[in-house]
């Protein structure tokens, strides 16, 4: 790691001010992706502004027809939350399969969304569930939040504060982990909720998380694994590497979608 300063933010306002202080400053939440990146000397921030200990960012609230989760809430807490398990078990399941137990004790939902790793799990949930991502400045719809690999709608001095997930009528997430890294090679989140039927895919897209409209249309007619079984996703914009060529990943999207639908039945 290159040298950097460390500041623990007292609250969101403090974090915002410190982030605005120097454009080379970066937010540190759980650090489970950022710290490995720094260790590889792939980033050189002037200072890390730690928001991980801000109490106002660490909560899970079930209100009305939605669950709102503070940005610094750890994956393990989302997975274990009685409210999340009751109203959105697919989201709890997803959180419980991110990384490994030690990573889940540190990693945060806000960090995962802000980083938008193409192999991260949360972006699929956010997109499929039509989540609302609140920042220190505004509210961003999931549909416009994800801009491509490691890119989001967040501005330089913008900090995610909370994420609201409307309760789905039914939903499930099934992933095929990369055998080595265990990140999602293909993860498919299917949901039927207030925003309708959505199928969101992570792990596979060259531009990060994306929706499969053909599957969504088919599921509107028939919420059944068979409805998506014969839908092939084109391999054009699908990642290809040592662990799986694009055609294999594209195939896995169909298989994971089928299994996700089956899991809701």
């Amino acid at each position: 790691m290159y040298a950097f300063e460390y500041h623990r933010a007292k609250n969101v306002a403090d974090a915002s001010a410190q982030l605005a202080d120097n454009e080379e400053n970066k937010i540190l939440a759980g650090g489970q992706t950022l710290i490995p990146t720094l260790k590889q000397r792939l980033a050189m921030p002037a200072a890390l502004i730690d928001i991980g200990a801000i109490a106002e960012l660490n909560f899970i609230r079930a209100e009305g027809d939605a669950i709102t989760i503070g940005a610094a809430t750890r994956h393990a807490d989302v997975a274990a939350s009685a409210d999340v398990r009751k109203h959105n078990p697919a989201l709890a399941h997803l959180a419980g399969e991110i990384g490994d137990p030690a990573v889940r004790h540190r990693g945060t939902i806000g960090g995962s969304l802000a980083n938008n790793d193409p192999a991260a799990d949360y972006p699929a949930a956010a997109l499929a569930l039509d989540a609302k991502i609140k920042t220190n400045k505004r509210l961003i719809e999931a549909d416009v939040f994800f801009k491509g690999m490691f890119e989001t709608a967040l501005e330089e001095d913008e900090i995610i504060t909370e994420i609201t997930f409307p309760h789905p009528k039914r939903a499930a997430y099934v992933k095929f982990p990369n055998p080595a890294s265990r990140y999602a090679m293909v993860g498919v989140f299917v949901a039927e909720g207030p925003a309708g039927i959505r199928v969101a895919v992570t792990g596979a897209g060259t531009d990060g998380v994306f929706r499969v409209s053909e599957m969504e249309e088919a599921l509107k007619k028939n919420w059944n694994p068979d409805a998506v079984a014969s839908i092939k996703v084109p391999a054009d914009n699908i990642l290809s590497d040592l662990h799986g060529a694009a055609d294999y990943r594209a195939h896995l999207i169909t298989v994971m979608a089928k299994r996700a639908i089956a899991a809701t039945l």
Binding site: Y6, A53, V103, R182
Partner: protein, 155 residues
């Protein structure tokens, strides 16, 4: 340099660290607690697992300053009054270790797992060990050790 204070194995400690100093380096270099190991640089192997405020974390993926004010337990702090923790005993009894390098992280992960999850079975133990890599044992006896310890602790 910044000053960091935390409780490690029940004792308050203070030290000077850089912003980039990892918790594992603080434990090993400042406190000479060399039982916590570093086996990779991509947060995958789990040789560095310690408990922070009662939860298993990877000390190679945590800054020392993030642990300010926290209570940290390392492998050296697990035995109480000379009495081995049931997980330590189970690893010895079931030959859950060979070269010993991954062992501190394995044991700290196992303690956390058992404390969090009642009624562990083999499949769950294997899934929960996802973040800990062992090259010697083929995991067979590690799984056996964890199950035996869980049995003992939940009796």
């Amino acid at each position: 340099m910044s000053v960091v204070s935390m409780t490690v194995n029940g004792k308050p400690v203070t030290g000077e660290v850089e912003g980039r100093t990892l918790l594992v380096d603080f434990l090993r270099n400042n406190l000479s607690l060399t039982g916590t190991h570093v086996g990779c640089d991509t947060s995958q192997c789990g040789a560095c697992v310690v408990h922070m405020d009662g939860k298993a974390v990877k000390s190679c993926t945590t800054l020392a300053l993030q642990a300010e004010g926290a209570s940290v337990t390392t492998i050296e702090g697990l035995a109480k009054d000379g009495e081995l923790h049931p997980v330590q005993k189970a690893f010895k009894e079931n030959h859950g270790l060979q070269c010993g390098f991954c062992t501190p992280g394995m044991i700290m992960t196992a303690v956390d797992m058992i404390e969090r999850m009642p009624n562990l079975d083999e499949k769950t133990v294997r899934a929960e060990l996802e973040g800990n890599i062992c090259r010697c044992t083929g995991y067979h006896n590690i799984v056996k050790s964890v199950l035996a310890a869980a049995d003992e602790m939940q009796r």
